[in-house]
């Protein structure tokens, strides 16, 4: 594969990029911080990556530059056939609830920008015969909860978008995978109380790669979250209102 990974310098993106590089795929690391991208690219090369490893500038806050970033990644890789977006924004619910500007930024990154980027990539892949688009949503998007509905809404929107994207482009050979991680121990969640079933980035990455290989439209990771979320998704609203959850 020739994959571009957005968010590959940290957390789950770092782990996904390592697995891709280890199996010989071409990997283009896209992100904001050139120095961090260079360190992560060196990490992949020094670990013995056999495919091309390249970097390019992409800022999820600048959707107008996405096309150019994908052009650059196409050029570096000789034509992408996979886009993986692991980057996302996160903030404590209280901070989002009281700071409208902060909230807007999170919604923009997690939904608007990610959807625009994935749409562009899907169109591009379809035009050249196919490809894979994968983005990291969250179990928080499966059901709104009073304690994190703002972040959850951004991910619910993304999950709905990816679901539709997969339906719309399926017959043009573009496969779409929506990854829904539960709590994963990364820099993003550092300092939060660790709930049961918390996952590690490496294990998440292995699950994601298996899902990409078989073209699964939705993957929960750690996998137990599928069964944790199943009843929660179907809880009557009257109960959701009563429980502190």
């Amino acid at each position: 594969m020739k994959a571009a990974v957005v968010g590959a310098t940290r957390g789950m993106g770092r782990a996904v990029a390592r697995l891709l590089a280890e199996r010989g795929d071409t990997v283009v690391l896209l992100g904001r911080d050139a120095a961090e991208l260079a360190i992560s690219a060196r990490d992949l090369s020094a670990r013995g990556a056999r495919g091309i490893i390249a970097t390019g500038h992409l800022d999820l806050a600048e959707p107008s530059a996405f096309s150019a970033a994908l052009d650059q990644a196409d050029q570096a890789s000789g034509g992408l056939d996979m886009l993986v977006v692991t980057a996302g924004d996160f903030a404590a619910h209280e901070a989002l609830a009281r700071d409208a500007e902060r909230l807007r930024r999170l919604l923009d990154v997690n939904f608007t920008a990610t959807a625009v980027l994935c749409q562009l990539a899907a169109e591009r892949f379809a035009a050249r015969g196919g490809g894979t688009v994968c983005a990291f949503s969250s179990v928080a998007g499966d059901r709104a909860r009073r304690s994190n509905y703002l972040y959850g809404a951004s991910k619910a929107g993304l999950s709905a978008f990816l679901d539709g994207l997969g339906l719309a482009y399926g017959n043009r050979n573009v496969r779409v995978t929506c990854v829904r991680p539960g709590f994963v121990k990364t820099g993003m969640t550092a300092g939060l109380p660790v709930p049961p079933f918390a996952g590690e980035p490496d294990a998440v990455a292995r699950v994601v790669l298996r899902a990409l290989d078989r073209g699964a439209p939705v993957v929960y990771t750690p996998p137990i979250w599928r069964w944790v979320m199943l009843p929660i998704r179907h809880l009557p609203r009257a109960i959701m209102r009563r429980i502190r959850f």
């Binding site: 360190i39 020094a46 404590a92 550092a190």
Partner: protein, 446 residues
Amino acid sequence: MGLLSLEPISGWGRHPVSRAAIERPETLRLPEGGDPVLPRGLGRSYGDAAIPATPGARVIETTRADRVLDFDAVAGTLTCEAGLSLAEILRVFLPRGWFPPVTPGTKFVTIGGCVACDVHGKNHHRVGSFGNFVERLVVQVADGRLITCGPTRERELFLATVGGMGLTGLITEVTLRLQPVESAWMRVDTEPVSGLDAMMDGLRDAAKDWPYTVGWIDCLAGGASLGRGLLIRGRHATREEAPARPPSEPWRVAVPFDAPEFLLNPVLMRLFNAAYYRVHTSRRARAAVPYQGFFYPLDAVADWNRLYGPRGFFQYQCVLPRSAGAVAVAALLERLGAAGAASFLAVIKDCGPEADAYLSFPLEGTTLALDLPYRGPQTEALVHELNAMVMSARGRVYLAKDAVTRAQDFASMVPRLGEWCRVRDRWDPERRFRSAQSVRVLGDRA
């Protein structure tokens, strides 16, 4: 991200237990401000070396900073972030013919931790400790500056940081020379020995021909059998000796809960040791074996530290100078036998010359390591008694294992402590870097 929630924290021995605000950054940088902080790797030091000075204080766990920054495939020189583990180095670089130059008995340690403890391994008699292979460190010191140091650059900071238990600064990068090997297999020779003299003679003789040597002592066998055990010698198998395929990664079994303490009673342990001895004396192996079983037998059991029950255990490790002779080693084993408090097995190993690093543990002589299930103040009293014997033999204890040694005892064991303290004064006069261990052993304020 707001305030960090507090987590329980302990060493591998699970005693003592404290609480800490643990950060796990992907890029190693000290937090703003001057609050006390303690670096921690994979938490394999046994005692209180990686526990904060006061409950609730900040700990920087380095394990997410695990990127390889450079690898020179000709010289085998690896530069990495300090949180990279030996396990990952083995996974990535052993298939390419490179092996850690020195490895402790577990691969679940970070490179930063290996430097901070100046770890040693079965090849100490030949190559010395980990610090001998470190070419360069980047250390973020208390005032926030990033200092590059090494054997010829900022040498004092380097010598204080190697073996310095994370108390001179946050190690962010390490440049390390790996050793070339022809295979992932080991040629191993195991020989039963009947007593302590034979064990110590055997270790000395084996040192001439074998890069790796170690002895396992059944420390519950007393009298004429005192020191009875197995002498294990090994070397990396050549390409011709090794099976065509690399060894498969062994399954790890887990210990799902704390074992009940009655399993650790002396009768059962004596039976276990006797059985272990018999099994190994009945088959003297010379075949090529996977490196994992030779270097990391306990890594096959995840969370094996739970086998010692909910109260945890101490690992006691000391080194006695060659001048103390077998008599001093025998006296320690006899004292342990009399207390009936010792573990399944003791590990005995002869060490080569001492390193230049001020607080480095090994010195030329014999090191002994064994587990002591924690049974309250009596176990601590036993450690103090053992320490007294070690001091009178001019030996010392290993801070990476220690949980109870008193400050005055440690000071008398480590003649170069004053030099180390002067360097620490220069880089961290306010003692921003401190641990529960440094409060206990060095008199830092809590």
